[in-house]
């Protein structure tokens, strides 16, 4: 059930799936026709957001729906996992990005998708671990290093860990004060390790995860 289109050609439309047409949710595929562009300019009042670069327009939804429920039930992006449902484990962490059109700036932050209501991501961009990279487009260096450092055992917490680290990387890269040495990021070792302090892992004992994170730090 993977998308046909290239995930990073962001202008492409989302052939949204609704395999189990849950009564409380209906998602309609959208097409980038000229007419729609026009409609959009005038504003249709629809809930619109991006997941991993793909456009999603949700015509109606129960306002109590969380972002995690939507991701897991209505999209093929199942890397965010339900671990606790109360923001205490980090397995559902995604990157949320907001755009300020006046300043032309993007603000990125990680969020527990189990606590984020779907309507609140209107106009936002959501990035999950699949969005960082995948087997088709090539894995992200974070994925490769988690694998290389043996930092994933059962693998259930790993996508959340990866996104938490990615969030810290993105944030650090925006810091103009720092200049990284080639091959490193602007992230410090301590920041890299702290990035996953809210993520639980029951298998590894964290040491290899800390090493994978710190490998990005300078």
């Amino acid at each position: 059930m993977l998308f046909e289109c290239d995930q990073w050609k962001v202008e492409r439309v989302s052939p949204v799936i609704a395999a189990n047409s849950d009564a409380f949710l209906s998602v309609t595929p959208t097409h980038n026709t000229v007419m729609e562009e026009k409609q959009r300019e005038t504003g249709t009042g629809s809930l619109v957001f991006a997941i991993n670069g793909l456009r999603f327009e949700v015509s109606s939804v129960s306002p109590s729906t969380t972002l995690l429920e939507f991701l897991r039930a209505q999209t093929p992006f199942k890397s965010p996992k339900l671990g606790c449902g109360e923001g205490g484990c980090g397995a559902c962490v995604v990157l949320l990005s907001k755009y300020d059109p006046v300043l032309d700036q993007v603000e990125d932050f990680t969020a527990s998708s189990c606590l984020t209501l779907l309507c609140s991501v209107n106009g936002c961009s959501v990035t999950t671990s699949e969005g960082l990279g995948n087997s088709k487009d090539g894995f992200h260096p974070i994925h490769q290093r988690f694998s290389g450092f043996h930092a994933s055992q059962c693998g259930f917490c790993t996508p959340g860990m990866c996104v938490s680290l990615f969030g810290a990387l993105v944030k650090a890269e925006k810091n103009d004060q720092r200049e990284p040495s080639p091959g490193f990021s602007k992230l410090t070792v301590v920041e890299a390790e702290k990035a996953i302090s809210g993520n639980l892992c029951r298998c590894t004992g964290y040491r290899p995860i800390a090493d994978a994170c710190k490998s990005f730090g300078s």
Binding site: V10, E11, A19, N20, D22, A23, R40, G45, V48, S60, S64, T66, R72, S79, G83, C84, G85, E86, G88, C89, A91, L95, Y99, L115, C119, S120, G123, S125, G131, L132, G133, N134, F139, H140, I142, H143, S147, H150, Q153, C154, G155, C157, T158, P159, V170, G183, S185, K186, E193, G198, L200, C201, R202, C203, T204, G205, Y206, R207, I209, F216
Partner: protein, 1086 residues
Amino acid sequence: MSRLPVYDHSLEISTFPEFLKREIKSSLLLDSERYSWCKPATAEELQSLLKSIDADSKTRMKLVVGNTGMGYYKELEHYDKYIDLRCVLELSTGASVHILTGTLHEKLALDEFLERPPLDSKSVLLNVKIPNYAAVKNISSEMDSKLLFETYRASLRPLGNALPYLNAAFLAEVSCLKSSGSVVLNKCRVVFGAYGTKHAIRAKEVENFLSGKILTVGVLYEAVKMVKANVVPEDGTPSPAYRSSLAAGYLFDFLFPLIDTSSKIHGGWSGEYCNTSLSEDAEIKQKYSQLDHVQLPTLLTSSEQVLELNHDHHPVGQPIKKIGAALQASGEAVFVDDIPSPTNCLHGSFVHSIKPFARVKDIRFKSKLLPDGVSGLVSVRDIPKGGENRGCTTMLGTESLFADGLTQHAGERLAFVVADTQKHADIASNLVEVDYDIENLEPPILTVEEAVKRSSFFEVPLSLYPKQVGDISKGWAEADHKILSAKIKLGSQYYFYMETQTALAIPDEDNTMVVYSSNQCPEYAHVTIAKCLGIPEHNVRVITRRVGGGFGGKAMKAIPVATACALAAHKFRRPVRTYLNRKTDMIMAGGRHPMEITYNVGFKSNGKVTALQLDILINAGISVDISPLLPRNILSGLKKYDWGALSFDIKLCKTNHSSKTAMRAPGEVQGSYIAETVIEHVASTLSMDVDSARNINFYRYDSLKLFYDVAAGDSAEYTLPSIWNKLAASSSFKQRVEIIKEFNRCKVWKKRGISRVPIVHQVFMRPTTGKVSILSDGSVVVEVGGIELGQGLWTKVKQMAAFGLSSIKCDGVENLLDKVRIIQADTLSLTQGGITAGSTTSESSCESVRLCCEVLVERLAPLKETLQGQMGSVRWDELICKAYTQSLNLSATSHYSPDFNSMQYLNYGAAVSEVEVNLLTGETAILRSDIIYDCGQSLNPAVDLGQIEGAFVQGIGFFMLEEYTTNSDGLVVADGTWTYKIPTIDTIPKQFNVEIHSSGHHRQRVLSSKASGEPPLLLAASVHCATRAAVREARQQLHSWGCMDESYSTFNLEVPATMPAVKELCGLDSVESYIQWEMGRKSRLG
């Protein structure tokens, strides 16, 4: 470094697509009617919204800011309207202090605000103004004064993500009396919160008392006493005395360094904030350092992994990456709940009992109509004709799927609500009403004592009951000293697998059922489902690809989950899946066996134990599960020392608690800990060094043989003494013992402890099946009975398949590793898979695969010889291609069944841990742990390293953090991440060094390898023992202050050694004791 996958941030992905930027520029407003989602931009708009909702009393609304609308107060109710507050201008400007209460604007002082009842659901705290102290400063600037400010927080995790026991903040304006050098506290603020009150408080009595006073120890003493009287948690708050003593400790920590300081507080400082601990002033700094204000790093700072590669059985022994690790990282790996729902799929949620022993008269929904989306309830009445009420099958007994008229423990499955979504099912299961009736029923058995009184036991088959060792009466006769009737109490532990219990059942044609289950023993689930549905076993297929963490919890406890889905699927003739919410999972999981131990020990004056006698009462819960294995396991861990003679009576108590089951190192971890407690007790009785007491009770090989019989193996295999000595050297044990002595002599409020602990852990190999098939292109597919739980079983099996087939010795076999794929366990494709447990499944799965490969190589060998004769050399793919044309059978199945003499063996390891205890808070930081563990010749040292580290940290959880508490009815109350704390990155050792000891050839083992899954968990006792050592130092200090009698060195440190437990032993009144002692000393000095 050069081998790292490249990271170049300029190639980083864009987090915000351009199309969405364009759309935002042309405005993206949500239709508030359509989505019932309003987003007011000003407080005025918000007010009018609230007004309109007020007018319509039927509308239920909820305010949302980011996450707080959900928070950890989970939402299970329906609301008509959501109001998103993030755009309300006034919320971010900070211009004034505002509360919007309904339609009223209010301004309040913070403490006035806190004293009011909580705001109702329609009130909004618009903003809080934090004053700039300089602006309100009204003291005379002529005096040289200085502002000090400090905050404190006591919580289980230094980096947060945990609720505190208490928060404190102190602000003080101090000046120095030039004449005497003493410090005057001009004014101060003393604030405490989160200690079990409705709101934070200002301790005004303390503030008034302290204001204007010259700080002396006497003044501080009064203030501390006053704080204790002021900071009193409400009834029902856990550890109230601990919280009060924290408040006292923090105030002491803040003020004590200021007493008697002769330092001059220079004018240059006045008016400045000092928002970290006291800054530049050298003398004050020194004072603080006496108070041990040296910040420890909160995170892992260094680690070292030492391993030896073994190339004898290439590629076995190589530290290759775990299969699918990158897929797991990107999230493409498919877990059971990631399988897309089939059409018409239903979702289930369990209804569980909240009574320990009661008749269940009725189970029904509160309303007449079925709740939203609900299809119905599945209960014992839905068991089909010919089926039975079976939820679990073990080798030792069975368990029912649902309570049948009578519930026998809180948390028992009563019914399964089935609905169109998981959310609807979960909400509906909370709407179920159950009528209980306890009339004329006996009271439940909730303690092991009660079980003994009522003779409520499970029988342990004789073959499983361990044997007594030596002549106990002779042992007693040899003893110079005796300790009698000492007691230990050990609690439970929850698995906290990240993936909760889950299954998906799909009915298929001709009364068959396919069940995807996250399960350590699909074979047992298979049998159970067939029994429950009353269908032949060949009608059931259980499929398990990967398990998101097992630790024993996905063995017996996963079976009823899979069975309930199958039963519901059978009833509704539709696919049914479930993914348990964390709370339900924690309530139903059972967990590790709690137990109570009473021991008598006899020993010589040199510390050598001559006799050990134990009475152990194990709380097994309501059903037998695998509990009869516990006595044997406990003894396996306990026998790590030579006890001279050993006798024991172990009873398996049947109680009205959820059934306890295996959790990683079940019994062994308790046994190993009991052994350490006995040794510690002996040492403290003799006032001897514990490490020496351990040494003197070490085995010689002949005594090892006496205690462990055939499991002891050859004398060369007894590597523990060499590991023990090697570890002392690699961890600089002796030097650090001296450094710690010096540290403890100098520091008053921090104490360190170090401990070296050995382990012996017996494991048993069990039969399992493997199947290896070679496809026409030369690729290889492998099935094994063992389940990939994250422990790297597939990776080792893959290596073994490549090794096994490479013995055909044709060209290209060196690349066989890339040609092997391990596929999911399927109970019809591969029968007799067995159970993945007990640390040995990786090696037995490997062995069954090796046997398959032998068969295949034997079949291929003649052809290979022929081809080689014809062509000089032959490539693997050519060989296979030819074999296909000749119709060779290229699929082999083997069932590996170990014989009695090789099925059991011992594992050895040792650990040194050093901890630092904060005597003011009871906080324990693990400074360093060094581990050496014998893996034989590791099948994959990277995988085994992961097992060692992971098990050790899980053990830290058991010994230091995790409290799996229940209420008085036995219902689990630690039911989420907020109440149950597993280790996080800030609670593991700051330095973590692991060496895999490679011990050469082991004749009876699978390619000389040994197990690594469970035994290293036992090593975490070293952290507990080190904590004990630090606590003993603290108590000795109390003794030196005259506050504790000679019995200071005899104490019982609980498991887990939580902050309150440690603090209690270090003295809840230690601050007062110290001040009194200090005052006494001063007066003595005149």
